[in-house]
Structure formats: structure tokens, C-alpha cells
Amino acid sequence: MRSNELDDILREALRQEVAERSSALAGLQEHVVAELGDRRPRLRLSDWFRQLVAPSRGGRIGQVCVVGGTAAVCLLFGFFVATRLAPDPGAPALRLSPSRNPDGTQEVVFVLPALNATNVSVVGTFNSWEPTALSDEDQDGIWMASIPLPPGRYEYAFVIDGRWWGQDPLADEYVRSFGEYSSVRYVGRGGDGA
């Protein structure tokens, strides 16, 4: 018997076998899925924790350590910042919002961070360009002065150890004057400027 004939006989036998059992295969997929659904285990909290700390889940332990460590650092940093920024009951409050005085002037706060400076002042149209000193009482490098000004437009610049600095980040606008920048504050319009 040649091999081709043998293959044909086997193929025919298999076809007959499948045809006979095809009725039994109907609905097999739905049946298997239903069986698995009933047997699916419920994950409880203890199981979840066991999975998390199981030796085979070493990667998850690392994740937990990283997340936990980050949270702890954030908490510590937040606590540090809160203690630094909390108002000292004995210290004067820093008022960046305008406060109107009885004489119609507004307290305008000039603030400048100048860490290594020894002398900082502000000059402008409100003091005829004569220096008004800023102070840094707590030596943190933040220099500040509060000047009562009537409503209007004021050009000014800071003088840091003799050098003029005309670009105050808190300014409303800037102008070029004699080739240098001057800052501008508007006082008395809609609450800004002070």
C-alpha cells in the first residue's frame, strides 16, 4: 500500500470520528466559561496583603517602599514649610494686599530678595529718587519696606549695594528710562499696586 492511499484512509477515518462527536462539542465553550465562573476565588483583604508581601512578589515590596518613602518625605517637607511660613505672633504681618490709611494713602510694600546684599533701598518718583532703605530684620535675604503712597502712578528702582535694579517682579509694568529699566506701580486702582 502506498503512503498516499494510507493518508486518505486515515483522513477519512478522522472525518467520520469528528462528524460522530460534533454534537457533543456544541456549547462546550459556554459550558467551560460557566464552570470557571463558579470556581473563581474571591480576593479578600488578607489575601491581597499576603500577595503584596509574598516573597515571590518582591517587586511589589519595592514599590510599596518607594511610595511610602515618598509620602513620608512629602509629609516631612510639608511640616517643615508649614512651620517656616506660619506667622510669628510677635512679628508684623506681611501685607501684600493694599491697606488704605485714614489720610487716603495706601501702604505699598516693596519686597526684594537679595541674599548677599548689605544695603538695599528703593528710589522713585514718590521719594524724588532719594533712597528709602529696605530692611531685612530676620537676615533671611528678603528685604522689605512699606511706604504709604497716595493713588497714582509711580516709577521706581531698587538700589542694591549701589547698583540700580529696575525690574521688580511685583511691578505692574516697566519703562525704559535713560537706557535702563524702571519698574512701575499703580496705586489706587482696583486694589493692586500695593
Binding site: 524724588s128 529718587w129 528710562s177
Partner: protein, 232 residues
Amino acid sequence: MIGSRIRGGALLCTLFLVGTGLLAAAEIALSDFARAIQSIPVSDIQRVLTAIESGLAQEDFPAPQTLQWIERLAASPFSAQEKESLLLHTVIALENGLPVDGLVTKGLEGLARAVGAPKIEQSLKQRLILLGETRDLLIAKGIFSVAPGSPQAVATALPTPRFNLLVTHISGTVADYLEGGGSPFEGETLYREVRSRLLSLEGAILVPEDVDLALKRIEPADLTRMALCAVT
């Protein structure tokens, strides 16, 4: 007890000194100006004094700042000729009834920045031209000034201090724009700058109706023409 008396005495002394200082500041007389001008000195002191006398009669004349300007100018290292030339811009403005705030503060700034006399003069000259041009422009647009207290016949007749504030801030904006390197041909940009400044001061020192009036009547082309007058 003694401590509280000392504190009370110190407070009274402080109040007395502050009060005296305020009175002294409020009572700047022509003689103070004469003394300061003599130390420049100027070639025609009478002309300067007459101009300042007319200024002192104005309600909004910045007497303390003008006196400071003259005193610091006298103490500056410039030659007498340069000092007189710088002072002359203020004198001409006063002679023409123009507000001098912008000129005085710019002069003081120039001295504080220790820039050369020619630079200060150039800035003052430009600002003086713009003051006159702005005043003329407003009048041409039907906005003019009346003496304070006079009956305001029409809405476009503003009391002099209000009119002068418009002149100061419109001309000042154009001057700042030009000094910052802006082109006089950019009429629309100039107009936006003027509008922005007037609106920023609206309700603070400028009367909203005055701002509205000026912004409605002034056109970008007017500002271009003004700016060209100042740079040519």
C-alpha cells in the same frame, strides 16, 4: 511712671518735629526758589522767578519737588551753562502754563542715575515738546481747561488740574514709548499704550469721564503726528 513720662515727652517732641516739618514743606516761598537759583547761577534770574511765581499760583504745582530739582541741579557736577539749560525746560513749561511734574521727576531721576547733562536735556526737551503738543491736541479736539471754581459750561471744559493730569499722562506715555525705542509711526501701538495708562489711572487720579472723553476723541494718527514732532 518715669518711663511713661519719657515716652510721652518723646511722642510730643516727635509730633512737634513732624508738624513743623509739614508746615515748612507746605510753605515753600518764592524766596526759597530764589536762594536755590542763585547757587546755579542763571543768567536771567528774574525770568526764572517770574515763571516759578506763576507756578506757585497754580493749584497743582509740585513746589517741593521743583525746589528739590533746582537744589540738586545746583549741587550737580554740571557746568553753570548746562544747569541753566536744563532748568530752562521747566521755566518754558511754566511760562506756557504746562504741568511740570513729568519734567521735574525726569530731571531728578537723571541726576540720581548720574547720567550726563546732554542725555537729561534730550529727555526733557522731548517731554517739553510732547507736553505742548498734547495740550494743543486736546484743545483741537474740543477738550480744554477752565480755572477751578469757574462754571463748567460744557462737559469738555475740564478744571485745570484735571486737564493737566490728562496732558501729563498722555504726553508721558508717548515720551516713555519713544524713550524705550518705539517707532513714532506705530500709531495703533501708541494709542494702546495711552489707553492702557489712562485706564490704569481711571478712578485713582483720573476722572472716568475725562478718560472716556480723551480716548473717544484722540486717534492713533494724532499720536503719530505728536510723536513725529518730538523726534524731528
